[in-house]
């Protein structure tokens, strides 16, 4: 399946071409090239997926296929970075997700970004992102993954900072990059640690569940945990950074400063789930050798999911609501992985997590694109500038509603199926976990519908209050152009049907197909909870009324804390600005200038000082000269006679 190399090469080519020609080509040409290439690789990846799932099943198990392999950099006899293409169920699944969503976003952006300065650059970056993300999921070894991991980080940086003249965008881009890079540091150390003990980067060896490979790593312990646990925990921190797990989630809400399609692509559907993908990729290691880390992942995921769901309930910026919702949903995926066992029914968590990743990618990008469409129409991100838009933008309204229903977990939309599996896996892990997750699912339904009503229902739209964020030309909102709405419609369609895919036939923890059985108890509970959430939201927000404000007043402290995102950003700001910048960097700069440099200057000036002090020797008096002369003679004589 060497042709899969094209899937990687084409976007890179597109990036190189578009990046180099930059403004020399017309925006339309650049956009067309970018979109076309994405279209081609989408088709290619569908074809590859079809070929893979039909041809590479041996003895009922999906094989890992190395479609391409090239030794890129050799460190020593054992360790070398290869660049290659690994095809296995999850990478093929990711490939489909990435290419599809990318293609949709490219298409959508043709309309959304029309007239923006730097349109060509935007498409170049989108291609770069597609390249890096595909490289990430197809990585044959953990170091290749790290390479593309960094590359997606930088594409994210470039895209968030696309409006580079806006300080907020630049700051957000910087924050995103630094936070994820901070996490990547742990990832890197984890890789180093892992590779030191296992002498390999290769996923094929790492995920073979071969105890010999990890013998050394498991036998050595540090602070009560085996080295392997440390390595895997560190690697997870890397994943947590990218996937915005608490407490490394702070960059994601800010990342919404980027163009909305970018948020849809990178910060909802693809890049942010890289952490989930990473854990899934190394799942055999986690589940067999370091279950304690895996449980930790589950707890982190659950907490993050709860935490961000609460915050999402009170945010007023629609993209931030979606961002926190994303964090929360990724928490779900992490929980799915964390509670999973290995193989068969035990491994349902793994399967459901992947399934949720899959469905979430579509409905969340749909939500973002819908939100983008709204923003495009009203030129504002704030809920207070919206309301009653259903009349003006019917397509957006309907697709948004579908997505909301999907994320709330209402059958038959896709979200229901995947979320339900996660819930049942959680229940089988521990009832408490299941309960919490069900509660969060209810919260999800509530805040999504709060969002939905605030945008499309509620108070009537008044164009006067718009803020001139992007363009400054705004009349009555109107439905988006065809390129945008077609993407919405397509994604909406996918959202409707994706849940019906027999996912377990393709992706399971051990590669053996498995039939999904919907646990009716869990399903009915979750549906009821979701409906309750929706009903409360309907009650509160469908029409403009006083209740939400009253509620906010009643829980004043909590409300404030939640709307300030529980002050996590402030904590970070404090620790970076106050502690690191003021108490480390500034003292070091001072130390360097005054102590070290001062020492060097001090040596020089003390030399000068001595030079001034001894000038009296040269008095100009012959007799004093003779005196010194004589003294010198006698001293020298005394020295050699008596001392030596």
């Amino acid at each position: 399946m060497q042709y899969t190399l094209l899937i990687l090469a084409l976007p890179l080519l597109s990036f190189a071409v578009l990046g180099l020609v930059d403004a020399k080509w017309k925006p339309k040409v650049a956009g067309t090239i970018g979109t076309t290439i994405l279209g081609i690789i989408t088709i290619l990846s569908y074809f590859a997926a079809w070929q893979y799932f039909t041809q590479y099943k041996v003895d009922g198990v999906y094989q890992k296929v190395i479609a391409f392999d090239y030794e890129w950099l050799r460190f020593n006899d054992l360790l070398h970075i290869n660049l290659g293409i690994l095809l296995d169920p999850i990478s093929v699944m990711m490939m489909i997700v990435i290419t599809t969503v990318s293609f949709m976003v490219n298409l959508y952006s043709l309309g959304y970004m029309k007239g923006e300065k730097g349109f060509q650059r935007y498409y170049a970056f989108l291609s770069l992102f597609a390249f890096s993300m595909l490289g990430l999921v197809m990585a044959t070894n953990i170091f290749q993954m790290y390479i593309f991991w960094e590359l997606v980080g930088v594409s994210s940086y470039l895209l968030i900072g696309f409006y580079y003249t806006r300080p907020a965008a630049v700051a957000a881009a910087k924050k995103a990059f630094i936070v994820t890079r901070f996490a990547d540091l742990f990832f890197l150390i984890g890789i180093l640690l892992l590779s030191y003990f296992t002498k390999t980067f290769d996923f094929g060896i790492l995920t073979s569940s071969n105890a010999n490979v990890f013998a050394e790593a498991t036998s050595k312990t540090f602070m009560g945990f085996s080295m392997l646990s440390w390595a895997m925990a560190l690697i997870f921190i890397g994943g947590a950074g990218k996937s915005a797990m608490f407490p490394l989630h702070i960059w994601l809400p800010d990342a919404m400063e980027g163009p909305t399609p970018v948020s849809a692509l990178i910060h909802a559907a693809t890049m942010v789930v890289a952490g989930v993908f990473l854990v899934a990729r190394l799942f055999p290691v986690y589940v067999v050798f370091t279950p304690e880390v895996l449980h930790g992942i589950a707890y982190v995921g659950a907490f993050t999911a709860l935490f961000s769901a609460i915050i999402a309930c009170v945010q007023t910026d629609i993209k931030r609501v979606l961002a926190f919702s994303t964090i929360s949903q990724i928490g779900f995926m992490m929980v799915g992985l964390g509670v999973s066992g290995y193989g068969g029914h035990e491994g349902v968590g793994y399967m459901s997590s992947m399934f949720h990743l899959f469905t979430h990618a579509f409905f969340k990008s749909l939500l973002f694109l819908g939100a983008g469409s709204v923003i495009h129409a009203v030129h504002s991100n704030e809920m207070k500038d919206m309301g009653g838009l259903r009349k003006y933008m019917p397509i957006t309204n309907w697709t948004f509603l579908i997505a909301c229903l999907a994320i709330a977990g209402i059958p038959p939309f896709s979200g229901f199926f995947s979320k339900d599996e996660i819930l049942s896996a959680s229940y089988s892990f521990s009832p408490a976990m299941g309960g919490i997750m069900t509660f969060i699912a209810g919260l999800t339904a509530f805040y999504m519908f709060r969002l939905y009503y605030n945008i499309f229902w509620g108070k009537e739209f008044k164009p006067a209050t718009q803020s001139e964020n992007y363009h400054g030309h705004g009349n009555t909102p109107h439905e988006s152009p065809f390129s945008m709405s077609s993407a919405l419609v397509f994604l909406g369609a996918v959202t409707c049907v994706a849940g019906l895919i027999p996912f377990g036939h393709f992706i399971t923890s051990d590669g053996v197909p498995y039939d999904i059985h919907i646990n009716l108890t869990v399903a009915s509970v979750s549906i009821i909870v979701a409906l309750v959430g929706i009903i409360i939201a309907t009650y509160l927000y469908r029409k403009e009324n006083e209740i939400p404000e009253k509620l906010a007043k009643t829980f004043d402290g909590f409300y404030k804390a939640a709307s300030h995102r529980f002050y996590i950003d402030e904590v970070y700001l404090f620790s970076t600005k106050k502690i690191i910048f003021n108490n480390i960097a500034r003292p070091i700069a001072w130390f360097d200038r005054h102590v070290i440099d001062g020492t060097m200057n001090g040596i020089a000036s003390s030399t000068q000082w001595v030079a001034v002090k001894i000038k009296g020797f040269q008095s100009g008096q012959i007799q004093q000269y003779a005196y010194v002369f004589l003294l010198g003679t006698l001293l020298v004589a005394a020295l050699v006679i008596f001392l030596i």
């Binding site: 008095s619 012959i622 004589l630």
Partner: protein, 113 residues
């Protein structure tokens, strides 16, 4: 005490006496060089030092190495050289006198540090 007196008048003078003399002369010269303010006096002090060395040569030759003449010759040459030095020195001192109207050594401190 008696012996010394007797020797002093009748016997040979011991070498120590000559060496003592030359040492005293030498350090008188040094002392003079370091303390006198008149340049001519300084010059004379230097002559004392040179002559102290001359005495040494002569005495060593006479007392320790009587078969040789090296020391004596050395003294002779030294005397000649001392004369040359004095001549040049006095010429320069005269020059200084011409310029400064003084031969006080303290005035020679235009250049220092």
């Amino acid at each position: 005490m008696g012996d010394i007196l007797t020797n002093f008048f009748t016997g040979t003078v011991p070498i120590e006496a000559y060496l003592g003399l030359s040492l005293i002369m030498f350090f008188c010269g040094v002392y003079g060089f370091l303390t006198r303010k008149n340049m001519l006096m300084i010059l004379i002090s230097v002559e004392l030092m040179l002559n102290a060395a001359d005495i040494n040569f002569a005495v060593f030759n006479r007392y320790l190495y009587p078969g040789q003449l090296e020391g004596f010759y050395f003294s002779l040459f030294t005397i000649a050289i001392a004369a040359c030095e004095t001549a040049v020195a006095i010429a320069i001192i005269i020059n200084i006198y011409r310029n400064l109207k003084s031969v006080e050594v303290d005035n020679l401190n235009q250049m220092k540090e």
